[in-house]
């Protein structure tokens, strides 16, 4: 029941009272109008396009061409153009899949779990973090499809009645992946879109030309900001947060099963599910930091994404990074304690074998460098924090790389081999980065980067907001 009056979608109707936040979640002096204009004017073309945006878009679009070329050559020649061969059949494509899907997790954590936990600071981050989730899942989804060799048969992953009487192997986590990732994408998309509806209405009401009015008007789906609209919006938003919460855990848990249900040494580790989930949030927050900093600079959003937000993100990155590091310790500890000849020898191979450099690089970038975040300076200085987050991106990629190169030295020394990605592996990998950058740049230009509605709700009641308690308070 919506017992609290909702902020109007039309900013001008609000009292022109300014508000200064002592919790440091909103900087400067803000009211309903300033927040609406700050965010909405970017989409309405009222703010000049910053140079940084062009650099991001053009570099992303250029890299995207590498993906197009890489995929065209792959489909023409087959997966033989990649470096995969016996004994490593899961190459960089799987590394990229897990890397991207992990990055997506922070978006759902911020939008769903932190909403249920009454964390007000999520409000400045949730919209662009959710967009990050969607684009990251799109990038992730490419890799299992193109890895199939015959991607036009991808629909075989889903059970459907057919005259060949062929069904998916339900006992394979690869099959679970298809369900988990598609569910994740659907729920994330719905959650993202539902949250956008009142903002679309704001843009419709403030449109500067007919096209904007029509496009944003259609997207707003007839939103008028009536009490019944708010009531249904808030109920649905809360329900979707409830549905999204288990997905944060389930998706990467199932991704971890891809490796852990095997009996390959160091893949078959029971710690993998929580270890992967923590790693996903770790990587996701590193990406949130990388995206928050340009938004702050290029669009002057420092008042809405404050250093308090960067500080909190850095702390979560540090905390989840420590859980990931515990996972590294746990793997070695159990291999030592268990003294299974395969587990222990593979551990030694991992550390000191031909790919030992990648293991130590992983430890450096994922365990050692993030410890700098114990110092406040590294949590609040944008450049330093971005460098640490960059280290995490490298580390989390190598974490999965270290897992796949374990296959080069399996139980049987006569089957040992080497693995080296080819140019086409890297074309798909960096090309996917291009896809992400392009999509994110377009999102920044045409959709509200921050939630206008929720940022306004963050204002105190005296300034027309709801103390940031809207959805959870009304759900009582």
């Amino acid at each position: 029941m919506a017992t609290v009056s909702a902020p109007s979608t039309v900013g001008e109707q609000a009292e022109p009272e300014f508000f200064t936040d002592d919790e440091h979640l909103i900087g400067g002096k803000q009211n309903l109008v300033t927040i609406g204009e700050k965010i909405g004017n970017v989409c309405l073309g009222e703010v000049p396009i910053p140079k940084g945006w062009w650099i991001m878009f053009l570099s992303g679009f250029t890299l995207l061409q590498a993906l197009v070329l890489g995929l065209a050559w792959l489909f023409y020649m087959g997966v033989g153009v990649w470096g995969i061969n016996s004994p490593v059949f899961w190459g960089v494509a799987i590394v990229n899949f897990v890397w991207w899907i992990g990055i997506g997790h922070a978006g759902t954590l911020i939008s769903a779990i932190l909403l249920l936990m009454h964390q007000k600071w999520r409000t400045s981050l949730n919209r662009f973090a959710e967009s990050m989730t969607l684009f990251a899942v799109m990038c992730a989804g490419i890799f299992p499809l193109i890895h199939m060799g015959r991607p036009w048969l991808a629909y075989w992953l889903f059970p459907f009645p057919n005259n060949m009487a062929v069904w998916p192997q339900f006992r394979s986590p690869l099959c679970w992946d298809a369900f988990a990732v598609s569910t994740y994408f659907s729920v994330s998309l719905l959650f993202w879109y539902i949250g956008l509806i009142p903002d679309f209405a704001y843009l419709r009401d403030h449109a500067k030309n007919k096209i904007q009015q029509m496009v944003y008007g259609m997207l707003a789906m007839g939103w008028r900001g009536s009490a019944i609209h708010w009531r249904r919006y808030e109920k649905l938003y809360l329900i979707l947060a409830g549905i999204g919460t288990p997905l944060v855990f389930s998706v990467h848990t199932i991704v971890s099963f891809d490796f852990a249900v095997s009996i390959v040494p160091l893949w078959h580790a029971t710690i993998f599910p929580p270890f992967f989930v923590a790693g996903a949030i770790f990587a996701g927050f590193a990406m949130v930091i990388w995206l928050a900093v340009p938004i702050r600079h290029w669009y002057g959003m420092k008042d809405l994404i404050t250093t308090t937000h960067l500080d909190v993100c850095a702390k979560i990155m540090l905390g989840t990074g420590l859980i990931v590091s515990y996972g590294y310790f746990s793997e070695v500890w159990m291999a030592f304690y268990g003294q299974s000849v395969y587990e222990w020898d593979t551990t030694l191979q991992r550390m000191f074998g031909p790919y030992g450099w990648s293991y130590w690089l992983l430890i450096l970038t994922n365990t050692i460098i993030p410890q700098l975040c114990w110092m406040k300076k590294f949590r609040t200085n944008e450049l330093l924090l971005c460098l640490v987050a960059g280290s995490v991106h490298i580390g989390m990629w190598f974490e999965r790389y270290v897992i796949i190169v374990t296959l080069t030295r399996d139980h049987l020394p006569s089957s040992w081999g080497r693995y080296a990605p080819t140019l086409w592996d890297y074309a798909a990998m960096f090309g996917s980065l291009g896809l992400f950058l392009t999509l994110f740049a377009l999102f920044m230009r045409f959709l509200p980067m921050l939630s206008i509605t929720e940022m306004r709700e963050l204002l105190p009641r005296s300034a027309g907001g709801r103390d940031g308690h809207a959805v959870m308070e009304n759900a009582k």
């Binding site: 099963f257 078959h268 029971t270 710690i271 599910p273 929580p274 793997e331 030592f336 304690y337 268990g338």
Partner: protein, 428 residues
């Protein structure tokens, strides 16, 4: 965060009148009945099964009692460290309970001595398979296979030997003891006088303290629980154990706190619905993570189906122990999963007491299930061994509980200054 709006400098928490006598009676009864039952059942079992590990069963069941109750001071220490690090409300509500539990740590070392004796001196009657010389182990379990002899000797030489086990335990007790001592030393000035320097020290200790806990708790659970099972190792197990550790500590603290506070409106006005909901929600989260970790461990071991791992579950899902596994699924996960969804349960002290008793009982059952089935007993004696373990838990709990209550009654249930946060916040 809203505490900025209030002036907390002049706040002094009211004295909470609490009657410790009923809890003391429960602890005393538990100690007496538990000791009598444990000794009677243990001696009966030892005399009936002298040649089949009767003495070993005494040590094995005692070990489950020790491990279960050791989780409370360890959990109190860890949750207190997290509480200082993250400034949580629940660590403020339960601060006195956590502190009293930490002060019992020296007693916990005394209660550990039978476990140490089992590892060092008991040989074939030890609860640890590795306390037997390698050749004898191979003779009893693998027809004297020299490969098994070599493997066991290798593991004993490397890690699983009595002296190294004792040394590790001394390090665990010592380091945890130092962390607890530091917190107990700095806390009075910080929480009763508002000493900023000490508050800062306690917050600074939080992060490194939790890291130390994570590493040493892994070693402790490897040694005290995992090593009773030959060949088995699971990197998820310390996570499962940690969730039980947190849940036992929270349930025990809620039981003690709500039992003492009861209908005391002075305390309940300070510990408002919001804080009670947070406590219940945290316990809910621990049951969920326990279920997640336990299921993950089970599913991966079932799917892998390799000899050195699957034995753990074969023993625990046969011979009567499967009913304990079903009870764990129902009471450790399903019931709390449904019941804790209701806000009214979390705000009502009576229902929280009932939930805490249920969770303590099922966590104790979980610990028994980890340890006691490691040696396959005859099917018709399993219930007998379960009773022995329950008696051991009552015995150790009673003895430990008397010491705990002695510490708890020394101070007011809520800290003088820090309670301002609870008093002035959480109205909506």
């Amino acid at each position: 965060m809203t505490e900025h709006h209030h002036d907390d400098s002049h706040y002094v928490a009211p004295t909470i009148e609490a009657n410790y006598a009923p809890l003391r009676r429960v602890a005393l009864l538990s100690a007496v009945v538990g000791t009598v039952a444990f000794l009677a059942l243990g001696i009966a079992n030892a005399s009936m099964n002298a040649a089949h590990g009767g003495v070993r069963d005494l040590f094995l069941t005692y070990q489950s009692g020790f491990v279960f109750w050791s989780l409370v001071p360890i959990g109190a220490m860890t949750l207190m460290l997290i509480g200082y690090l993250c400034s949580t409300s629940w660590a403020l509500v339960f601060r006195r309970v956590f502190q009293a539990a930490m002060r019992t740590w020296p007693l916990m070392f005394v209660l550990f001595l039978p476990v140490a004796a089992s590892a060092l001196f008991m040989g074939h009657d030890s609860s640890f398979w590795w306390a037997v010389p390698a050749g004898e182990f191979a003779r009893d379990h693998a027809n004297g296979d020299p490969v098994v002899t070599h493997e066991v000797a290798h593991r004993q030489g490397l890690y699983l030997n009595g002296l190294f086990f004792l040394l590790r335990a001394v390090i665990i007790f010592g380091v945890f003891g130092l962390l607890m001592r530091a917190m107990l030393k700095w806390a009075p000035a910080a929480e009763d006088e508002g000493n900023a320097a000490n508050k800062s020290k306690l917050k600074g200790l939080g992060g490194p303290g939790v890291l130390v806990w994570a590493l040493l708790f892994t070693v402790a659970m490897t040694d005290w629980v995992m090593s009773v099972e030959p060949a088995w190792s699971s990197s998820m197990f310390p996570v499962v154990a940690a969730m039980d550790c947190f849940l036992v500590t929270m349930a025990f603290s809620a039981l003690v706190f709500y039992s003492l506070v009861g209908e005391n409106q002075t305390a309940l006005t300070i510990v408002k619905d919001k804080f009670r909901i947070d406590i219940g929600s945290l316990m809910y989260a621990f049951t969920m993570i326990w279920a997640y970790a336990s299921f993950g461990q089970y599913m991966l071991i079932w799917a892998g189906n390799i000899p050195e791992e699957i034995g753990y579950y074969r023993k625990r899902l046969n011979g009567g122990w499967e009913f304990v596994a079903y009870a764990l699924m129902a009471i450790h996960w399903l019931l709390p999963f449904v019941i804790f969804l209701f806000r009214e349960v979390k705000t009502n002290p009576k229902s929280m007491k009932a939930m805490s008793i249920m969770l303590l009982a099922i966590c104790a059952t979980d610990v028994i299930w980890w340890i006691v089935p490691c040696v396959p007993h005859a099917e018709d004696t399993q219930f007998f061994h379960l009773l022995m373990a329950i008696a051991a838990i009552a015995m150790v709990g009673g003895i430990w509980g008397l010491a705990f209550l002695g510490q708890l009654r020394k101070a007011n249930l809520l800290p003088k200054k820090d309670t301002a946060f609870l008093a002035n916040w959480g109205h909506h």
